[in-house]
Amino acid sequence: MRNEHDLRSALCLLEDQTPDIAMVLQRVTEPMAPNEGRSQSRRARRPGRQLLTGLLAAAAVIAVTVVALILTRLPGTQVPVPPSSPLHEVPPYYVVPGPDHFTPLGKGRDRVTQDVLIKSTLTGKTLAIIRPPGSGGTLGVAGAAADDRTFLLVATSPTRSELYEYSRLYVARFDPVDRKATLTRLNIPAFRDGPNPGGVAGVVISPDGSEVAVAFENAKSAQIKIYSLPNGTVRTWKYTAPVSYPFSGLGGGNALTWSRNGLLAFDWSYARSASPVMPVPPQGMRLLNTSLSGGSLIADSAPFCLQLEFGGAYYGQYLTSDGKQVIVPVYSPVKIGRRPAKCATAAAGNGVLKSRPAIEEFSVSTGRATAILGQFSWGNRQTLLEQETLYWSNPSGSVLVVLGPAGPGPDAGQTLGVLSHGRFTPLPRARVVGYTAVAF
């Protein structure tokens, strides 16, 4: 039996998770990127300067508007993206969460609503705004199909419960001619989202947009369900042996990915690790054969070992749509032609890095490293690698959309950009703070 002292000591260990004050304050006081909201709340208002600031702002807006009008009316004066730009090699539209809208409810509480924006990859302009269905709630980004204009969104409705909320999946289809998006609720039961681990761990839409896979887990079982959108049929793969939240590595930048040849890649944290209830980092990836009718999550999937040096220190694996490569940001690149270390251990690393992190490609068929696709030269890369998330890849893995440096210095921040032939090209007006749920 444990005692109070054990609890106090354990909680003190969590002081290690204290955020860096400088980083938090920098984010609070720095100017917002153009695509972010709450710009008015970012800076403290100084009453003495309000009038002058207002006049200056009005003058600036008028000037910018006039210049913009002149430019758009002169043929050929719009800043063109060169045909050779790698921006042409990625999907023309992407979805990103819009700014939060806060409605004060009193007693220090707010109601939050959030839209999703459809943006142009080439210009960074917002082409359409998708509002949450019904009366309020938030809309989040869950994925995109390969047709460039079908997106999977999740709508979360406000509930009376402070602990749980219910989410439903929607498909948004964008019409670039009318610049309108049609939101359709999927015939998939609402799922409960809340603080207890378990529930939905990941969602992905198939490349052809006809199916949606949802990964569920709890303390007793894990399963992946594939819902057919046209006819509503469901196929299920389950794993019921004792396991501790094996999908815990999913979420954030670590998504389910689905190739055109029917392989569904998912993170599978090592079961029965030394500390059975400790959340372990992703210990390996498995590739599920979704052409089958359902069955065992393990028997119908094959492991793809990505256990790298320092205890599986990778994040955000991506199975290319041709199903032939897996691309991952790695702390310590594996020598080309070599396989990563054995993946049957659960040892955590000590975080000491000896080499430059990279985005690396591995062959699905051989498991060997086939290419280092990019290595960014930031000052302190060790602290930034985890944000180097992959969002999209072309079928062969030669063109990627990743989160990369917005400028030369380590303080420049991050932006979405295209990584192609070892070169990073930022997307226009796509700076982000932290990980952002974006889908291409």
Binding site: R8, S41, R42, G108, R109, E165, P279, G349, L385
Partner: protein, 186 residues
Amino acid sequence: VYKQTEPTDGGRVVTFEEFAASRLPAVLAFAGVLTGQRATAEDIAQEVLIRAHAKWDMIGGLDRPEFYIRKMVLNEFLSWRRRSWRLVHAADAAGATRQPGPSMPDHADQYAERTALLAEVGKLPRRQRAAIVLRYYEDRSDTEIGELLGCRPGTVRAHAAKALSTLRIEMQPDQATLATHREREV
């Protein structure tokens, strides 16, 4: 409610900069322990401070701005959504590999026990988790915790009791008495 018991700053309005210099580190540590994940704590702190910064004229005039900010942090934590859908860091899993290792001064088995305990703490319903963090990390009374969570001290005790039972933590009789006694003093 924010003007009752906490030591005041002499009635002077505390500037945001003063608050950041003197009180923010403790609030951030609280957010880190509460969430157990630096990235989430950072996001929550950022959300809270952006809003607090915008209305600092009001908050800075309170007798207990730190208490108010903690309450905002708690509310944000209690309503924080699953990370898949929102603006979050991708650092959570990578961060897990950088937990302090067995080279800590503790014995390895003690460390393993504490990390296992922490994992169980992470699975508690958020209100229960908040209650035990406030009680056992911040050493706050049940009355104060009730004030922060917006419930009665009896409800706080119920949350804490459920959490302790889930975590299989035995309260020594003298500690239970002490807790009750502390309540009476408040």
